[in-house]
Symmetry: C2
Subunit: 273 residues, 2 copies
C-alpha cells in the first residue's frame, strides 16, 4: 500500500466538500493548501464557464480527478429523454474542457410511475457512449448506496456497475465511493473484478447515527468505515490514482470555514485514509 | 399467485404498525377487524407477561406469525456477550409461550470500536441455536437494509442471510421484508434459493422522499416497491404463509387511530400486496 502519511499529491478535493466555494475559490484554496487535485460538480464549472475554468485549472497545474456528474437518465417521455441526453453531452463537453480524468455518472432512479428496476438505465448509457468516446472522456459509473435506489440511482452495488461496464465496453469504468459501497459483502470480489476499470476513488465516512439520508456524511475517521482496508483492496486491484474527498454535510462541514475543512481533509488523508 | 382481493386470513399485523396498542389491544383490535394473525414485538409481550399473552392469543384463536425480535448480538466484552445470549434465550422462551411461528432475528451492528463486518455475528448464532432447536422455535434471520449496516444489522442482503442458514442448518430460516430487500439486484435469485427457508414475509413501502432512516416507512401502495412482483417471487419459491404488515412511521401512521390503520392495512392488503 502507498504511504500517505506525508502525502498531499494524491489528495483530491471534491467541490461538494467545500460547497460555499466557487470554482475560482476552490482552485485558489487548494493551491493555498498545497494541493494539486480537484473534482468539481457541474454547477460551479458552469457558473465559471467551462472554457475559463479549464484555463484557470491549467494555469494552476491542477489535476481534475473527475467531473460530477452526468447521468440521472430515466425520463417519463421521449422529450425528457432527449433533454437528458443533450444535457449529458454537455457534461461530456465540460469534462473535456476542464481536462477531467472522467465524467462521474449517477444513473438515476426510477422513471416517474415505474417500478421496473431493471429497464431504467441501460438504453441511455448506450446512447451517450459514442459521444463520450469521441471526446475521450471516460464514463465512470458510480453505484450509489441502496438508500438512493428509488430517487437517485438504481445501480446500487459495484457488481451492477461492473456488469454495466462489461456490457458497454471501452470508454466506461467505475467510481468507487466508500460511503456507497462499504457495507457490501461482495466488495472485495467486485473491487478486484473492476481492476483497471477503477477510474475514481472517493473517501468519506458513515456516521452513527446518520441523521439525514443525503446530507450527513462524515469526515474520514469520524465514522465506522474501515477506510484503510478498502484502500488496500483498491490498490491491490491496481488503482494508482487520487483519493478524492466528497463530503455532503449540511449541519457540520458546510458550516465551517473551507480553509479549515481543507486542513482537516489533509490531516485525515494522511492518518485515516 | 394467491388471490388476496377478498382475503383477511393471510394478513398479519405487526405490533409496530399500531405502536400505541398493548398486546391486549392488538389482539382485540385485530379480532374486531376480522383478522386472525399478529406479530408482536417483545416489549408488549413482556408488558403483558408471556404466559398471559399466550393464553389470550390462544383464546382468540390468533396465529402468531413471528416474535420480533431477537439478535442484536455483537458485544464489546464477554459480560455483554453473555447478557445478550441470555436475553436471546428469553426471547426464545417468549416465542414458545405465545406459539410464534418463528423468532425474527436482527443480528446487530458492529461491536463498539470494531470495523470488522465479517466477524460480528456468527459465533452468537451458533451459541443460541441449540436452545432454540430444543424449544422448537425456528430462528428467522432478517437481512436489514444496508443503511442499518453500522448500528443495527451487518446482514444486509438476503444472500448473506441464506449463507448463514446454509452454515447453521436445521432450525434456521429467513424473514424477507420488502422494505429491506426491494432494491437488491439479486433478489429473484436469493428468494428462489431461500425456498422452504422462507419463514416470514413482511410488507410495507419505500417512500420518496424518505425523511428518516428508521421511522418513515410507508403503507403498501404509497411508495415505489413493486409489491406484487416480490410476492410473486416469494410464492413461486413455495411460501404459503401470511403477509405481515410492519410499518414504523413516527409522523404518519403512529399518529392515527389504530382501528383506522387496520382498516387501511386490510384495504391495501387486498389491492396492493
Amino acid at each position: 500500500m502507498r504511504d500517505l502519511s506525508h502525502d498531499r499529491a494524491l489528495l483530491s478535493i471534491n467541490s461538494m466538500t467545500v460547497k460555499a466555494w466557487s470554482l475560482v475559490e476552490l482552485v485558489e484554496g487548494c493551491a493555498r493548501a498545497g494541493l494539486s487535485a480537484i473534482s468539481p460538480w457541474r454547477d460551479i464549472v458552469q457558473a465559471c464557464g467551462a472554457e475559463r475554468a479549464g484555463k484557470l485549472i491549467r494555469a494552476h497545474g491542477m489535476t481534475v480527478t473527475g467531473l460530477c456528474r452526468g447521468g440521472m437518465f430515466p425520463a417519463a417521455d421521449e422529450a425528457s429523454r432527449r433533454a437528458a441526453l443533450d444535457d449529458n453531452r454537455r457534461a461530456v463537453d465540460e469534462a473535456a474542457a476542464i481536462g477531467a480524468q472522467c465524467l462521474v455518472l449517477v444513473v438515476g432512479g426510477l422513471p416517474q410511475g415505474s417500478r421496473d428496476l431493471d429497464g431504467a438505465h441501460l438504453q441511455a448509457l448506450h446512447a451517450l457512449l459514442p459521444y463520450a468516446r469521441q471526446a475521450r472522456v471516460p464514463l465512470a459509473i458510480e453505484p450509489l448506496h441502496p438508500m438512493y435506489a428509488a430517487d437517485r440511482a438504481c445501480v446500487n452495488t459495484l457488481a451492477q456497475a461492473n456488469d454495466l461496464c462489461d456490457e458497454l465496453g471501452e470508454g466506461t469504468g467505475v467510481a468507487v465511493d466508500t460511503y456507497h459501497v462499504w457495507w457490501d459483502p461482495d466488495l472485495k470480489r467486485e473491487i478486484a473484478r473492476a481492476g483497471e476499470k477503477l477510474l475514481a476513488y472517493h473517501v468519506n465516512d458513515w456516521l452513527v447515527p446518520t441523521t439525514d439520508l443525503l446530507l450527513d456524511r462524515g469526515m474520514m475517521g469520524d465514522g465506522v468505515i474501515d477506510l484503510r482496508a478498502i484502500r488496500a483492496l483498491v490498490e491491490a486491484a491496481g488503482y494508482r490514482g487520487h483519493c478524492e474527498v466528497e463530503i455532503l454535510s449540511a449541519n457540520n462541514w458546510w458550516k465551517r470555514d473551507p480553509d479549515e475543512v481543507l486542513r482537516i481533509c489533509i490531516e485525515r488523508h494522511q492518518t485515516m485514509v
